[in-house]
């Protein structure tokens, strides 16, 4: 390649050739020169590289501009599919909330669910009781194995149908299993006497009435004066509009 300066006319001829701005005649003539002039071929290669370098500079600048605009539009809530997805997600969320709101259980059932927890059970001291069947069943009960507990208490309850402890805990199992009707009868039996389970039985009866939306019956239990459950009972009645 020549170290001599490249004259303006040759430079512009190379430029026009690289950019495809020559007529067919000019191109043919230029190509004839290329065949005969190695220095011109070298200058053509170099000119092509320089133009490519400038184009790459322009490309880099343009890409930066696009990226900045993308970032700006992204910070304003996204663009294109992203924005549509965001809209769709918002609509889906609103629809889900509306469905949940419409399909959610009534207030009384929600209050029952919020306040009902099964009685924690009685303490069982190892080797400290003569009634191993009851004690074993109580262990099952406290482990949450309610079916096995009830299965063991059932024959005991047949032998002693008025046993308040058996009645009460059998009712607990029935409540856990959703059999409020059977539980109510047993709890009513316990609450009528002088059992140590009386207060607790009344509380569960109160909750059963709440669940069934039997507000008058719940209020009739007059649980508001109960030292253990009075405050909660009054709050529930208040929430129910009583």
């Amino acid at each position: 390649m020549s170290k001599a300066p490249l004259d303006k006319a040759t430079f512009e001829a190379i430029e026009a050739y690289v950019l495809g701005r020559m007529s067919a005649t000019e191109r043919d003539a230029f190509e004839q020169r290329l065949v005969l002039e190695p220095d011109l071929r070298a200058e053509l290669e170099l000119g092509r590289e320089h133009i490519r370098a400038v184009e790459l500079g322009g490309l880099t600048r343009t890409l930066r501009t696009i990226a900045e605009q993308e970032n700006a539009s992204g910070s304003q809530g996204g663009s294109g599919w992203g924005r549509y997805i965001a809209y769709a997600a918002s609509i889906a969320l609103l629809v889900s909330v509306a469905i949940w709101w419409a399909a959610r259980p009534p207030l009384n059932e929600r209050l029952y669910a919020a306040h009902f927890t099964p009685d924690p059970g009685l303490p069982v001291a190892m080797s400290a009781t003569d009634d191993h069947v009851f004690a074993d069943a109580m262990v099952y009960y406290k482990e949450g194995r309610y079916g096995e507990a009830a299965q063991r208490w059932a024959p005991l309850l047949q032998q002693d149908p008025s046993n308040d402890t058996l009645l009460y805990y059998t009712a607990m199992v029935e409540l856990v299993n959703g059999d409020a009707g059977s539980a109510m009868a047993r709890l009513a039996s316990v609450s009528d006497g002088s059992s140590t389970f009386k207060s607790r039985a009344r509380w569960y009866l109160f909750l059963i009435h709440v669940k069934r939306n039997e507000i008058e019956q719940a209020r009739a239990l007059q649980l508001g004066t109960d030292t253990m459950y009075g405050e909660r009972a009054l709050r529930i009645l208040s929430q129910l509009g009583e």
């Binding site: 370098a53 600048r61 990226a67």
Partner: protein
């Protein structure tokens, strides 16, 4: 330039916006510095075989034509369509949104130069190509010492460079940028508008409020400055 993948190089022919000179690589892509130049006569576009190099702005897919003409609309379109995938890949592999932008812009530059130099076949999927290049570049970054603490989630790739990405293309981009950096702002302003934006001299003169002849002279002088750095771009040790 007529650079074909090895499997297609037998199709190397002429006809382009960049002239009729074609460079044939007898040993494939690694022979850039040892290539020989062969002059081919023009052939009609209709006789070019399928799988030919891309360098004609009047044929080929729209994205190819857009890149050949430096169409900002096409660049924007490629960005909008393919950046989210690359962004997700980088974010899943311990990168940030800014990392994703940088990697994607580099991938676009590789795609652009590959198209400009006819080193990519028209049937290639631009999105897949960009993803492969971006993934490869990001994995290089992750493997680097500064990012050894990163956890790579998706690492099922082969470690080799994608077969359709010329292995010297990134080196060429670095060299081309090195040359561009030699230009001052005044040169960049004029040359960008003429060569990248493809505006004519009268338009540029009007935009800059000077005579057309002044723009012509500035352009010539600026390109001669680049000529002085010609050996930088060729990777030679000493400038001539």
């Amino acid at each position: 330039m007529c650079h074909f993948p090895v499997r297609d190089r037998s199709h190397c022919q002429s006809g382009s916006d960049v002239g009729l000179w074609r460079t044939f690589h007898p040993t494939g892509w690694r022979s850039l510095n040892f290539r020989r130049i062969i002059v081919f006569r023009t052939t009609k576009a209709s006789t070019l075989p399928v799988g030919r190099a891309l360098s004609d702005t009047t044929t080929g897919p729209a994205w190819v034509k857009g890149l050949l003409s430096n169409d900002p609309g096409m660049l924007r379109s490629l960005y909008a369509e393919h950046f989210p995938t690359v962004r997700a890949m980088v974010l899943q592999n311990s990168g940030s949104a800014n990392d994703a932008q940088d990697i994607f812009q580099e991938a676009i530059a590789v795609l652009w130069l590959s198209v400009k130099e006819g080193r990519i076949i028209p049937e290639v999927d631009p999105g897949g190509y960009l993803y492969r290049v971006a993934k490869n570049k990001w994995l290089d970054t992750v493997r680097s010492a500064a990012h050894k603490h990163m956890k790579v989630v998706h690492d099922e790739r082969t470690l080799e460079r994608p077969s359709d990405v010329p292995d010297d293309i990134e080196e060429r981009i670095v060299r081309l940028r090195g040359v561009y950096e030699k230009l001052d702002d005044k040169c960049r302003t004029v040359l960008d508008r003429f060569y990248f934006e493809r505006k004519d001299l009268s338009t540029i003169a009007e935009e800059l409020g000077v005579e057309e002849e002044s723009i012509r002279t500035i352009k010539y002088r600026c390109m001669m400055k680049l000529r002085a750095f010609r050996n930088v771009i060729r990777g030679e040790e000493h400038e001539v």
